[in-house]
Symmetry: D2
Subunit: 359 residues, 4 copies
Amino acid sequence: MAGNTFGKMLSLTTFGESHGIAVGGVLDGFPSNILIDFHFIQSEVNRRKTGSNIFSSSRKEEDEIEYLSGIFGGRSTGAPISFIIHNHDQKPEDYNEYKDVFRPSHADYTYEKKYGNHDYRGGGRASARETLPRVVGGAFAKLLLREHGISVRGFVSQIGDCRMPDDFIIPGSFNSTDTITGCPDPETQSKIIHLLEELKASGDTTGGVVTCNIIGTPAGIGEPVFDKLQSDLAKAMLSINAVKGFEYGSGFAGASMKGSQHNDPFIMKDGKVTTATNYSGGIQGGISNGEEIYFRVAFKPVATLMKDQETLTTSGERTVIKGKGRHDVCVVPRAIPIVEAMAALVFADHLLRYQGFSL
Amino acid sequence: MAGNTFGKMLSLTTFGESHGIAVGGVLDGFPSNILIDFHFIQSEVNRRKTGSNIFSSSRKEEDEIEYLSGIFGGRSTGAPISFIIHNHDQKPEDYNEYKDVFRPSHADYTYEKKYGNHDYRGGGRASARETLPRVVGGAFAKLLLREHGISVRGFVSQIGDCRMPDDFIIPGSFNSTDTITGCPDPETQSKIIHLLEELKASGDTTGGVVTCNIIGTPAGIGEPVFDKLQSDLAKAMLSINAVKGFEYGSGFAGASMKGSQHNDPFIMKDGKVTTATNYSGGIQGGISNGEEIYFRVAFKPVATLMKDQETLTTSGERTVIKGKGRHDVCVVPRAIPIVEAMAALVFADHLLRYQGFSL
Amino acid sequence: MAGNTFGKMLSLTTFGESHGIAVGGVLDGFPSNILIDFHFIQSEVNRRKTGSNIFSSSRKEEDEIEYLSGIFGGRSTGAPISFIIHNHDQKPEDYNEYKDVFRPSHADYTYEKKYGNHDYRGGGRASARETLPRVVGGAFAKLLLREHGISVRGFVSQIGDCRMPDDFIIPGSFNSTDTITGCPDPETQSKIIHLLEELKASGDTTGGVVTCNIIGTPAGIGEPVFDKLQSDLAKAMLSINAVKGFEYGSGFAGASMKGSQHNDPFIMKDGKVTTATNYSGGIQGGISNGEEIYFRVAFKPVATLMKDQETLTTSGERTVIKGKGRHDVCVVPRAIPIVEAMAALVFADHLLRYQGFSL
Amino acid sequence: MAGNTFGKMLSLTTFGESHGIAVGGVLDGFPSNILIDFHFIQSEVNRRKTGSNIFSSSRKEEDEIEYLSGIFGGRSTGAPISFIIHNHDQKPEDYNEYKDVFRPSHADYTYEKKYGNHDYRGGGRASARETLPRVVGGAFAKLLLREHGISVRGFVSQIGDCRMPDDFIIPGSFNSTDTITGCPDPETQSKIIHLLEELKASGDTTGGVVTCNIIGTPAGIGEPVFDKLQSDLAKAMLSINAVKGFEYGSGFAGASMKGSQHNDPFIMKDGKVTTATNYSGGIQGGISNGEEIYFRVAFKPVATLMKDQETLTTSGERTVIKGKGRHDVCVVPRAIPIVEAMAALVFADHLLRYQGFSL
């Protein structure tokens, strides 16, 4: 009820503050006897690591996962899988000056109103570090999906005003690459690098968009009314820090299309029912139709700037906060594994729900 | 688990198919002793009524709400409030020709894959009629919010490519009007009417966008991690038929802004903490900050056309379906009360969750 | 959260007051394409009917089930199954004198404290009529269990101080019979009839015990920690009006046994693992072991007497309530189908949860 | 859904196996700014400690609680409180001989059927060590209840056939003592000590009963239908290892009482509504009435004996297991803090649910 658990059949509960002892999670409902690829899970965590590239903050964490339960002899037992990641590189004193200040567009003020306290040490629970256990949980979900031939892949399709052309109209025509952004369009990728260098120099930040695909899905997954597949994906994505919007299939662009353009005609292909186009984004009536699922997630610019900003103290006095600390110019590339993790958790949950139903 | 219930403290369970006996709902967790404004609830239902304007289908339903429980002496008792609305104007024979056909961009195919059956009589559970009990549940939620000085108001901000200029950048500067669309910009409103007439003539359909505001909210409402206020709003909106996207505050446009532009400075105004701008959309860290909450919801064009379309039969043969039946050129104006209802349910639920927490 | 929904994969939401329009329920998560035996469901409802024998109250209800959704062509569709049963034989005026009185050992006082109101018309939601939708929901669960060769059968093993000897020590040795009580021991049955006649004459009431078996269960059903099979059975049983206790397997008697007596040795029988004794009651570690599940449920005496009783008015004045109205000498025989229904709902829910897990 | 989480507003998720790295828990929904009495929490854990008295197994654990999150400056922050307790004294090699054996009346067989594996190292998740995080979570709940003047106290009222006379008929007349059993009757206490010494000598084990009181409760707490206070208490108790039965108020004895005896007349006392007797056990219609809540919990004898027992191997061969290892003659005294912990979690959860409702 306090919202630290996600999922129904497969549920992830997370805990931990940015500058506390550790962050961690409990993954419940994970099927038994699945071989755990520890190397893969650690590599997923490394993808979101602070300091993974030049545009990110310089906070360095080992982020080594310690598994506490639910795995025996290299396989899941069916018991809850719990894990923690210690916070090693804590410098709470960096944040002392924020103790009595509401930082603009951070959660200091709202936490104060809700809880009667706020964790000034790097945002506490509102820190991006909260997403680390999501990536671990999502990596387990990916292992489960992999057993069913399903994969989840994201890439940056926009940073600031550098946007890939028509990135979502023809799904499947683009794939993520091994570059920092995964952006499949080399021209956009170059523009992005240039923009980020510019912003770094000026102490400013920017937002962007992650596009994500779920590939290899069977038809029939999802619930038809309140727990539509897209509903749970939207909830998952909007629960990620800094996310401002979600669209799937034709998305906002679909609003200006005509029905005769937008409808996806059913056709037979290789003896299988498929659709000629995929404006539906692989989901119809809340249930997967077997086509590629794709969606886009918008991120706002990072709120912590290297510039001075006017704001209020907790007692309502005007003050100026100086730009310093350890922060990113743009979180979007680092958000790719988080988007993927949440998408994997949603789809794995619905896959298990489907199995439950079809007694 | 099968996804026909929405909300935690205040939960709405809906049931009923388009061409069955009735649709209805059970609202559980509604506080006791609230005076029930039956006239208001019926008027909300009338707002989404089929046939409420010339651009909608001609199916006529009385849509009279029958209350079965939870109300005594005109007040809520604290027991579950249940209600049904009979389906009077059923013409299942209109749908006989769809019995063995997968209509393009409908849920026939996915229901068939999930359930081993699909309700060809107007879509069954996938019909827009499923949203009727949501409007009733939402009307109760509005009564509760009203007691706390909170209101929810939506309007059409885009139909097809007719879009209000900058509609969400300066929230509060526009208000819904009493026109069909509620669109506050007369010029956009005229263009919309013109577009819809054109589409009606050609048998085609279009989509659009509903903008919605929640006004008068206290600060401190929402949960900080997976059940962020925006997460639950996004889930609620994407669970509405035909919705393809959700954004709040700066939304997708925020992705191309700089942090120095996007941050909302805290200022004192009339002795109260407020923000100078509101790109945050009234929510920070998943929790309301007391500013106006606003968001936009994208709808795809109606899938049922008055034009012939190629598709497949359930046995995989090619066929053509004729355009006929009773359908809308554009659902967006009728979707306003549905968007509002879901927003009211989300906010009322979180309001009750907040009260629970603050023992 | 307000506790009107039971079950996770298969969930029953009930609504309705004793003297309102109707009682009813919504059964969500019921698998699709199950043939619905309407005659069986109605017959289950008839078993709990008021007036079904001479020891029960004389209120007569048709209790005809009206199905509103979720069934098409005689089979479940996978959509929520909703149903209502109208309250025909309402005489709220019978209860006028209780308007301002707290009846002893009824829920008037506690409802007043919780809700700021209480439904004096026959107890409202606290009435035994609330269990009617449970019986309908349970009948659906039985249909599902039947498809897997599982059955649920209860019988009266005690009324007042007339108790079957050793009824639960050798499960399987007794079966319910077609008598009013289902009690397999003719001697106990005779004593019970005699006792009830005596009590009827004196205007007094008594309690009793229902023993219930779940037969034909596979091993491996149940969750190991908080949602143990026996935990969910206990919750289900204690949620029935007038229930004061639950025990399974050896139960309270097991507390005075020695481990060397109580342990159930594993043996092979007909090529299958089984246990030589069954003090475990068919459940070990919260999970079914394939043996017969059996448990006992204690009911207190009916609180409404035909005798005068001293009590308080809602304003704290002393008063006397007269014994009249329509009530039972003993509810226990009528409770058998309710106990069975709740047991069937629990087991069907866990069966579906098991299927979900074993992807 | 996999049943490792308990509670709705205040939820405890537990994890960890007997012989894994650690056991632990996540307590979500705990109100902010509550002063945490760490000494008290550790002392609760020590109460259930293995080796706390001569009748228990000799396994020694430090059982020191490590807090990972949710507490800052000695107070709860509102974020999830997570904690772990390392398993130091692991001797998994003690269990090697059980690797391929189904121990009688343990969960080896059922886990094998459910998960396709079983953790032979001391039972894994089915071990009594799983209850340790419950005691920690319960201690937090007690801190919350203490702020509202509510306390929870259990004592042994029966071991084997040594049973306190009339222990539950006159609640309040007995209190737990500081002896090993807490049993308020010195005579029963002496008999119990004698019985346990006898059993220890013979390598046998026994069961017993814990009686528990919740004192100082306000009226109006609990939900009226499926989540009755007694339902959630029953579920909580039956989820504890080795529990076979639950009764509250008059319990099973109530089944043989007459209504005229059993009804609790309302009277005024010191200007307050109270009841002259308390056969209701402080709960009417699922909701607390302000009287003392009391219930009894039956435990079966410990399944691990110091005697040889016949059983089957996992491949169905007959075998004999030798009695050795580290185990208790009787778990019941050590179960007192576990019973109290679960009762505290249930009541705290309902207290928060009540607050939520009464907007």
